[in-house]
Each structure stands twice: as C-alpha cells, then as structure tokens.
Subunit: 305 residues, 2 copies
C-alpha cells in the first residue's frame, strides 16, 4: 500500500462562466466538484495505475463529507482521513468560456486543534507501518506546526519506509532538513528554497540541504533529477496544450509507482513525465489521458544531466 | 404563521480577497456562509421582527444540510423545506478589500424531478392552510414548471390567504395573471414585465395585468405603491451608503409584517422603507441595523402618488 498525506484536503469546484468580469454578477452554467488537495490527486492517479493506495490527512464539515463520499467510490483507494471539527476548504476555479483562462479562489482551510494534530500523528504512525512508500503533499492548514513535515519525514525514516515530500515555502525548508528520500519542487519552489533561479545549481543546492534525491519539475522542459544512481533530464516529446492543473501531482504518482515497482531511475522519470504530459492533455483538470500516457512512454527522452 | 416559499434556496458564501483579478490565483482571507434565497432572507427578517415564520421550498445535498442546520438555529423560524436528490446551489460573493466592490457567481440550482415538485405542492397546500400570509420569492430551479408561481398563487387564493409574489421574468408574468394580492418588482423587473421604463406608467400597467397591489421598489427613490386603498410614494430620508444586498427582501418582510398586523398601507410602506434602508446600512449583507430601523421609522416620508 502507498500512503499519501494531504493535511489540507479540499473540495475542488470548477465553475464555467462566459467571461469573468470583476464587480459583475455571473450565472454559472456548469458546476463540477471533486475531492482535491495534492495528495488526494496523487492517490487518484496511483489508484488508476492499479496501486492500492491509502489517503490520510484531515476532513471535516459538510465539504469534508462530500470529499469522503466521493473518495469511497474510487476503486483501490482507502479513506483513512482523520475527522476534524472545522470544515474542509473549498477551492473554486472559474473557467472562462471566452478566453479559456481560469481564475482561482482558494479558501485557507480549517484551523486544526492541537488534539486533532496529536490524533493525526498517532494514525499516521499506524498507517506508515503498513506502507511501501509515503508521499507528503501540499500546504499546511492553520494550526498545524510549520515543522509538521519534518516530523512526518522522521517517522517514515524510522519505520524504514521511503518518503517523498512535495510542498513549498517554510514547510519545505524544514522538511528537507529531516532528510526525505525524494523532494519534487517546481522551479518557483526551488528558487524560494535555494535563492537560485538556475535550475541545475538550485537542484544541487536543494540536495545538499538534505534530500537524498531531488526531482525538479520544470514545466515544458520536463524533469531534472539528481539521484544517488546518477543525474538525468527527462523531457516530453513536445509541449502539450491543455490544462496543467494536477500535472505535478501526476509526476509524483509516476515517481512513487516506479519506486514501489523498484524500476531504475530513468524508467521512473519516463513514467513521471508521460503521466504529467497526459494530464495536461486530458480535458478534466487532474485526470490523465490513458491512451496518450501509453503512447508517451515510448517518446520521453531521458539523458544524463 | 407567515409562510415564505424559496424554491431555489442557496448557501450564500462571501469571500474576502484583496483584489479580484481575472486569470490570477487568490487566497481567500475570510469565508462567511449563511442560508440564502429571497424567501429565506425574508423569513429571517420576519423572525427578527418577532413573527412566527415557516420556510418551505427545496433543500438537498451537503449544501442543503448546511442551510437547514443554520436555519434551525434561528428563533421563531420553522424549517419545512422539502428534501430533494440534487444539491442546493451555492452563491459566491467575492468582496474586494481594495475597491469595496463585489463580484457575484451564482450556481443554477439542482434539477427538480416531477415527483419532487408534486411532493412540494402537497406540502405547500398543508402549510398554506395554517398561514396568515404567504410570500413566493425568487427564481425557479431547473425542472420546476415556469407557471409554478401561478399555481401557488391560486392555491393561496383558494385558501383565502393573502399572497405576495416577488420574482422576475416569465415566472412573474405568469404569476401576475393568477392575481396575487401583492407583487414587489424592482425597476428592472417592472420594465421587463411591462416594456415601460417610466415607473408610474409601468406600475399601473403591472396592476392591470392582475396584481391587486403593486409595490415597485425604486432603489434610493423608495417605494411606489398602487393599492386598493390609494396610491403612495414612500421615500427614505437620505440615500444610505452600504451593501444593498437583501434590501428588497427586507422591504418584502416589512410589507408582510404590516399586512398580518392589519396596518394601513402608509404604515406598511413606512416599515418596508425603513427596513430596507436599515439593511443597506448593516455591515453584514442581508442583516438589518435595528437601531437605524427604529430611528428611520419616524423619518420615512409617505405622500399620495
């Protein structure tokens, strides 16, 4: 079982409007809801690839119930979310029919009480004991200590379970120092962590800070991976046009899938890049186009960095 | 008991953001949720004025549960909403800190099945039998026949219960033909109904179409009422600055309160104008400022039209 942790789960809502104009009133013509938060997205892709996956983190309120209800319908996915008194946040993506662009509104998430955080730590320790890999994903809701990911990394390492960390800002800085097996920053997160906007230099610096492997996701330039087995660049055959939402989460799912299948690093990176590109190509945000994925697997180029 | 009908109830959500920019990502700093839909707003004001009020219409899904849960906490208000399979719509008001302006996103509402509509008609007939007045408020959700309000007006008239209709477009046009006791269109609704942008002429025309009394709400110009007892203009002492959301619903509550207390028309109009102005003045959308309301009662001017 692969365990994904999403401390700030979300109900992701997409609204279709003709054209968003500030200070006007809009009739929403279509409403789509799905469970969200990075670790939830990673879990959905892993389940679609045939893995047994368990989702933990927090869920609460009416929005949390909708999230849990929807997750229970995903084959291969086990809901181990910890109930909290506050309500799971919503994110609203307002998609313009005219421009094709999207405006994003993100709620902050519920305040987590110290007792709820303590309850989560107990549950996490139990779940890690049965996991083949752990992914720690996304932002922290209010009330969770900023060093949360550092604690969760240490627990996984003590249990001998490989752990991937995908977050940003101070939680990433603290988490890296606890020596996770893999981090997957994007270019902005890497620059924020290291102060360098030069991807290779920044990736090297991130590795020196404690991550055993750094996989930097560089958008259309694919992935740059510095690993104990060697350094590679993995690049998709062409720039994909579509919705990049969830492309990074699909890359994380590809890395985890390759890890538990004990694939060599170049194959893991191929899978991650192909999933990421197939996610951009899929019409619904966060889904991946399976036919495109299988075709892309043969067309990703992996070269020594 | 006063009965208010809200076929398209809502969970009204207000987001505070620094400044809404299309195609950007926004962190919401504050989230406020409250039950909404015009008839629900009317009921809340009536309950605050000390009336026993019953709310009916439809509620469903996780959003419907939140609406019902919140309504159950309002003293004097009885929840008689009819459960439906679809989810109660959300409305999102995005309030800009910088400009003070608001951008509105309104979901369409759940599709109502024919059996659900039939179930509502039975419930409505039972409730009308125990009501001293009925208010039919707001838009129709998908699946409800466009002549819905005409049927509901006839049921109330058959039971000898006075009925106020506050809606727009084709549902208003059909509803008026069924001869409601009062309609309360605003200037836009009146122009759409009659084709005339001249308030007095349009109000006279609306009355000829079947309404016993027409109370036109003309924003800062107050109310213009053509009634069987005479014709009046009721004007607030000054233009109020604030949030006009819910001002029309508060005016409806004032008209109903005066109706069941058998006040003469000028007193009903005074109450409606004062409540409306006190709603604009209150900081939270749809609430009214009680101190301002009581002061305004002495300062509304009512003159023969």
């Amino acid at each position: 079982m692969i365990l994904t942790v999403t401390l700030n789960t979300a109900l992701d809502i997409t609204y279709r409007v003709r054209s968003l104009r500030p200070h006007a009133s809009h009739r929403v013509s279509e409403v789509v809801e799905r469970p969200g938060g990075k670790g939830v997205n990673v879990a959905r892709v892993l389940a679609a690839l045939g893995h047994e996956v368990t989702v933990t983190g927090f869920a609460g309120g009416a929005t949390g119930e909708v999230v849990r209800d929807r997750l229970s319908a995903v084959p291969g996915l086990t809901d181990a979310l910890v109930p909290v008194a506050g309500a799971t946040r919503r994110t609203i993506a307002v998609a313009d029919e005219l421009s094709g662009d999207t405006t994003q509104l993100n709620e902050p998430g519920p305040a987590i009480e110290p007792a709820e955080w303590g309850g989560f730590l107990d549950r996490y320790e139990e779940l890690v004991a049965g996991a083949s890999a752990v992914a720690l994903c996304g932002s922290l809701p209010p009330g969770v200590p900023v060093g949360a990911y550092a604690s969760l990394v240490r627990t996984a390492r003590s249990a001998g379970v490989p752990v991937l960390l995908d977050t940003s800002g101070e939680p990433l800085r603290r988490g890296v120092a606890a020596r996770p097996d893999i981090i997957k920053p994007n270019a902005d997160e890497l620059a924020e962590l290291t102060g360098s906007h030069e991807p290779l230099r920044a990736t090297q610096d991130a590795r020196r800070r404690g991550a055993r492997t750094v996989v930097a996701s560089l958008g259309a330039q694919g992935l740059l991976a510095l690993t104990p087995e060697g350094d590679w660049r993995a690049v998709p055959p062409a720039r994909e046009h579509g919705n990049p939402t969830g492309a990074g989460d699909s890359a994380v799912a590809g890395l985890l899938s390759g890890l538990v299948h004990r694939l060599p690093w170049p194959d893991r990176l191929t899978s991650a890049v192909a999933l990421s590109a197939a996610t951009v190509r899929a019409p619904a945000a966060g889904d991946f186009d399976r036919v495109a994925y299988e075709k892309l697997l043969a067309r990703v180029s992996v070269t020594a960095a």
